[in-house]
Symmetry: C2
Subunit: 339 residues, 2 copies
């Protein structure tokens, strides 16, 4: 009764993208299409090599999990929970199926996802726009090109991070978020660097130290003048209790949580622990960004620019204006395949 | 733009109801009616004297919070969060407003609450039916009258609890849930009593020891042959981490959580901590029971019989058949005032 199709996409990047440990010109994405009562729902997977996910393992997981889907997607909650429990790992594949089920459920109900969950699209905070590692001149040029955005994000680890920030400050004074990607292993060094950053209009620092250094992070949290956000330290909802002690906030990504339903749970739990919410993404099609954007009004710091870095997106996007994603009033996720 | 009316109800009980520390023939309830764009939404408050809530304090809180409601209830999530933060305590009043907002949101969307949240009404587990403290003969008579129910619940503390259970077993062999209401202060005694109960088809034990005795509960949890459910130990979502160590499950009540939205958060968090979910109620009108019943498919142990003990309910009810609440396919909470 539920028909499932899986598509492979080669996602080309507008600019070669460098973070602390790798560069790339393209990324593999997969999308899944579910069909129920003549209605189609779509979801996106951006498999993450950090967790052993490959396009092949992702496709295999999608095929296995699709084969087990049953019931009416109007009752999306038990369908998604059962799907999540039906397969080990492969969170990108799970995120794709969660999205496709929510897209179907919304279309069957005639309501956008944000409406089903009672969120106010006008309350969407601005999203950050990420600038990869490059020479200070190139970074300044990219920052100038990103004029429409009200927040920038940069990845540290180039060797001369302060020069990069100074270069950005020559062209814009918007708040800048900094992702250290576990870059500092010594807590005293981390504190000194963060104190420097605090003088330059930096809004927050993501994952300053390796995720495993929990005691150092508790020490650093007590002293940091900037909010510290867990990224690599979050692997599952169960991590949130420790994160609540060692960080001020958490970066939640659908591809790591396994979709919108678990992300909503994680947001509720993180809030009850006093954590700020960053909502992140991979380099991924606008389909995945759309799903995350429906949760955007629940976030303090949306970081949902993954599709803006792509030159050949296979899906339509919710528009961005004044640096904010403007959710369209269409049922489900509100986007569609472009051909 | 949002019109608010508040009603007082004197809820008469079919039978005088006794638990460990008090008896009563009636209870005060309040209901609130919100009106937005010509649509009416209803919610119920059953103020709890244990938390210093009186009908007067509840009404005052409702009036204060109603005056601050603004915006479109379709965006129910920020409206409810803001309402919850707008006043200290008074969770019954908050529950009433949460319900009224969700009733409105569902009616505006044309969907029952269970549908908005993607739940399957066919997955509703049986609810328990509670028998108050009385002589063994009277208890057996009530148990015989409750033939339609697939689970019974009894309150311990009569002095001869084992005689009461034996009396029930003369008329029925359905599973029985036991609520000790903090009755045992010594952990060895508690363990012996629970071991006795385990031999008589008892399904679970609620709050065996005083909520403050956390270390004793951790000891008891490690040894108990029956699941132990926190009731008095739950006062807010933040308690769940400790409850996760000291109990197997938690009894969540809308009147204590402050409504359906927080209860849904609490369920998600409790699940991630490995806790079983009991969904409880006060002696309260079918309006409050309806709101909780929409979350019923998320519960392991619904305990939603509060309206069945009432002789003059001012609201209509979802029917019960084969011991399960059967949610009607009507928008919002699906019930209405009877006159």
């Amino acid at each position: 009764m539920m028909k499932c199709s899986i598509f492979d996409h080669r996602i080309d990047l507008k600019h070669t993208f460098t973070i602390a440990n790798r560069s790339s010109d393209w990324r593999p994405n997969l999308s899944v299409r579910l069909e129920y009562e003549g209605i189609r729902g779509y979801g996106l997977a951006a498999p993450n090599p950090r967790y052993g996910e490959t396009p092949e393992s992702c496709r295999a997981a999608l095929e296995a999990m699709c084969g087990q889907l049953e019931g009416d997607p109007r009752a999306y909650e038990p369908m998604i929970r059962k799907m999540l429990a039906s397969h080990p790992g492969e969170y990108a594949a799970k995120a794709a199926l969660d999205m496709a089920i929510m897209d179907l459920a919304g279309k069957l109900l005639g309501a956008p996802l944000y409406r089903m969950w009672g969120l106010d699209p006008a309350a969407m905070p601005p999203t950050s726009f990420t600038i990869g590692i490059d020479t200070p001149e190139k970074v300044a040029q990219r920052a100038a090109e990103a004029r429409g955005f009200r927040v920038l994000k940069i990845k540290l680890g180039s060797g001369d991070d302060q020069a990069i920030i100074r270069a950005i400050r020559t062209v814009t004074d918007v708040p800048v978020r900094v992702d250290a990607n576990e870059g500092w292993t010594d807590r005293e060094t981390a504190l000194r660097e963060i104190e420097q950053l605090a003088k330059q209009g930096i809004e927050l620092v993501e994952q300053p130290m390796p995720a495993a250094q929990v005691e150092d992070m508790i020490w650093l949290k007590a002293r940091s003048p900037l909010p510290l956000i867990a990224d690599e330290a979050f692997t599952a909802v169960g991590d949130l209790i420790t994160i609540g002690e060692a960080y001020h906030g958490v970066n939640l990504k659908l591809m790591k949580c396994g979709g919108t339903l678990i992300a909503r749970d994680a947001i509720a739990m993180a809030r009850s622990l006093g954590l700020k919410i960053m909502l992140g993404c991979m380099v991924e099609s606008a389909l995945g960004i759309a799903a995350a954007a429906h949760l955007g009004p629940l976030a303090d710091f949306p970081d949902l620019d993954g599709n803006l870095l792509i030159s050949n997106d296979p899906y339509s996007a919710h528009p961005v204006s004044d640096g904010r994603i403007r959710l369209l009033d269409a049922p489900g996720l509100g986007v569609a395949p472009l051909n």
